[in-house]
């Protein structure tokens, strides 16, 4: 909290009153806060919270007064050459002016566009200051400036002992890292109700996430329900923080990781590979089936076409031969004897014209039955001589 960081009391430095306000905040206010922090009589108050302490303020004021009145030589008030004893009119005026200037400087403060301030009147909440120049008359009114629109983020599940391992409803373990982004919706509540907002947000976020994960099953978290879970968790965090009146608004919740733990991730990946394998096997089988079926269809077509070809061939040949016969027969019926003779002779002519012929006259062999000659004919010799003659 910037509030408690501001312990550099400019009061300590005698001449640093004006220069001490270089952090843009009223040095008086800062000194006041710091004084409260170091308040000796506050030792039992648990954690030392910044408290404006009148005792301290006054003590410091007295020191300052001494410096202004007596320690002129130290360059504090920026006055002239008045001696410590002879406090002249001019010195008083200058001192008063300087005091007034310091007071004005301490009482006005600026609030940047992304900020809001909370003003406390004598320690109790009075108003919220909007961006711009604001007036908080010191020391009655003190103020705190908060960057309300700035988005703060809490990473949960990263870099811790258990590495964000969570137990799901079906007793599986899942590794979840997520980020909660928040800002301040009500600066006064934010300031006054939670001692440790950041730690509270972290604890509440983790609790909410574990609660939701603890009643979900593993598979839906891994697959598609992340958006639903994020929404549910966000709602739960907001609801819990609202019961604390925390003035915190959860802007969004980002899942950085929702994976199976490192130890088993290989097995999860293998399931994905198995799904791929399954597809591969099915595709290969489909390819095989396509090939086989195409071949079978081709073979079928081939067989059918061959059969049709045979049919055409056989029928055509038969038709042709039959026609030829019919044609010859028709002629034959007109002159049967002559045609018959002619056909015979023409055929014999062609047949005998092409073959080697041996004509044996049975009568010329001399007497009793020429048939006795035939077995003795040197048929092979005859053939050879026949070939030689050609």
């Amino acid at each position: 909290m910037p509030y408690s960081n501001n312990s550099g009391g400019p009061w300590g430095g005698g001449g640093g009153n004006k220069g001490g306000g270089d952090d843009g905040r009223g040095p008086w206010g800062g000194g006041q806060n710091g004084g409260g922090n170091r308040g000796g009589n506050n030792g039992q108050g648990g954690p030392n919270k910044p408290v404006p302490d009148i005792d301290d303020i006054v003590r410091k004021g007295q020191e300052q007064l001494k410096v202004l009145m007596g320690g002129r030589g130290g360059g504090g008030g920026g006055g002239g050459g008045a001696t410590p004893e002879g406090l002249g009119r001019g010195g008083l005026v200058i001192g008063a002016l300087a005091l007034a200037g310091l007071w004005v400087f301490a009482s006005f403060y600026t609030v940047k566009p992304e900020e809001q301030s909370v003003e406390l009147f004598l320690g109790s909440f009075s108003s919220v200051g909007e961006p711009g120049l604001n007036f908080a008359p010191w020391p009655v009114v003190t103020k705190e400036i908060l960057a309300v629109t700035r988005e703060n983020s809490e990473m949960i599940g990263v870099g811790r002992g258990d590495g964000g391992l969570m137990l799901t409803g079906d007793e599986n373990i899942i590794d979840i890292d997520f980020e909660v982004v928040w800002n301040i919706s009500d600066p006064a509540r934010y300031l006054f109700n939670l001692a440790d907002p950041q730690e509270t947000i972290q604890a509440v976020s983790e609790s909410a996430m574990r609660e939701v994960i603890g009643r979900s099953e593993l598979a839906p978290i891994l697959n598609r329900d992340r958006g639903v879970i994020a929404e549910e968790v966000e709602g739960l965090i907001q609801q819990t923080l609202d019961t604390y009146d925390s003035g915190v608004r959860i802007v969004r919740l980002n899942f950085d990781k929702a994976d199976p733990p490192q130890e088993v991730i290989e097995a999860f990946l293998d399931v994905q590979r198995a799904e791929q394998d399954r597809n591969t096997l099915q595709n290969r089988a489909d390819a095989y089936a396509n090939q086989i079926l195409a071949e079978a269809r081709g073979r079928s077509a081939e067989l059918l076409e061959q059969a049709e070809a045979y049919r055409a061939q056989v029928v055509n040949e038969a038709t042709g031969e039959a026609s030829r016969f019919v044609a010859v027969f028709n002629e034959y019926t007109k002159a049967e004897e002559v045609t018959r003779k002619r056909l015979y002779l023409e055929t014999m002519e062609r047949v005998l014209g092409n073959v080697d012929k041996i004509i044996i006259d049975e009568g010329a062999t001399g007497g009793g039955g020429g048939q006795g000659v035939v077995p003795y004919l040197p048929l092979n010799e005859l053939r050879r001589s026949g070939e030689a003659n050609q």
Binding site: N42, Q44, G45, G46, P47, K49, V51, D53, D55, V58, Q62, L120, L122, S124, F125, L165, E171, I173, N193, L194, A195, E199, V204, G214, R215, T240, T243, Y244, P261, E263, V264, A267, V271, D277, R278, N279, A285, D286, I292, L293, A296, R299, S300, L303, L304, Q306, A307, E308, Q313, A318, F325, V326, R340, L343, Y344, T347, K357, I359, I360, L377
Partner: protein
């Protein structure tokens, strides 16, 4: 010492006294006015107040909600499965006097220790009376409320108001993690094997169906082609029968002539014939006429 110095010293003294007589309690605090250790008054509302200077002093307590995160705690639910539970509480000081009396000058850190013990006790009691499935379910909220309600009553004794108790973690102990991982792994393996086996099954089925369809297709085609061939042969026979049936005797003559011509074709046929053959009728007839 001039008069002025005396005057200034006097004014400063008065101022010092006045300043010691007032005190401010911040919006975030509650004040307790003590007189020699005895509680004189409580200032709940923020703002300016008065006290007797020097004799009384003010102790301020934080009025905001404090956080308390307990150490991880092993609990044994009804079904004897151990769980590591990590709870946290939000609380604030509600009764400053009681708080002061209870923790003395120890302040918040001592209160925290005592509240932590209360919380651990209640967590153990509440979670020990249900089964682990209940803790890992939507009932967790009601368990958290039970712990909170019990803690509220106990914490009242030390002047604290428990705003909320939540279970942050409810995990398996470190030793059981390995077993859980193995179970998860085995489940995935089962899934992967099932997936692959189903792939094989489907592939085999597709292949077998393809083979069957292929055989069916080819055999059907074979059948149809044989039918077609048979029809063709029949048609041929019919054509021949129709044509040759007109004169079987002439067909025999005509077909024989063609058969002679076909079969006696070629160079290596040798025919031994007798001149008595009809073909030579006129070869021997010197009259040029056959008797």
């Amino acid at each position: 010492m001039t008069r002025t110095t005396v005057l200034i010293a006097f004014v400063v003294g008065i101022l010092f006294l006045a300043v010691n007589a007032v005190y401010i309690v911040d919006e975030r605090q509650k004040g307790l006015v003590l007189q020699f250790g005895q509680v004189k008054s409580v200032k709940e509302e923020p703002g300016l107040a008065f006290k007797i200077p020097f004799i009384q002093n003010v102790v301020r307590y934080d009025d905001r909600i404090q956080s308390l995160d307990t150490q991880p705690l092993e609990v044994t639910p009804l079904d004897d499965r151990r769980l590591v539970v990590d709870a946290f509480a939000r609380y604030r000081i509600s009764d400053v006097v009681q708080f002061r009396q209870a923790v003395g000058a120890g302040g918040l850190s001592q209160a925290e220790a005592r509240l932590g013990r209360i919380l651990n006790d209640e967590t153990r009691t509440v979670l020990g009376s249900v089964s682990s499935n209940t803790i890992l379910s939507a009932d967790r909220v009601s368990l958290m409320n039970q712990i909170r309600d019990a803690a509220i009553i106990q914490a009242r004794a030390i002047g604290l108001e428990v705003v909320d108790v939540r279970i942050k973690r409810a995990d398996l102990p470190e030793g059981n993690l390995e077993a859980t991982f193995q179970r998860m792994q085995a489940e995935r393996e089962r899934e992967a094997r099932d997936e692959r086996a189903r792939g094989e099954e489907a592939a085999q089925r597709v292949r077998a169906q393809a083979d069957r369809t292929s055989v069916e297709l080819v055999s059907e085609a074979q059948r149809d082609s044989d039918i077609a061939r048979g029809e063709a042969d029949a048609q041929r026979n019919a054509i021949f029968a129709e044509a040759f049936g007109r004169d079987p005797e002439f067909f025999a003559f005509y077909r024989s002539l063609r058969a002679y011509e076909e079969s006696l074709k070629g160079e290596n046929s040798t025919l031994v014939i007798s001149p008595d053959s009809e073909f030579f009728d006129y070869l021997k007839a010197d009259t040029g006429r056959v008797e």
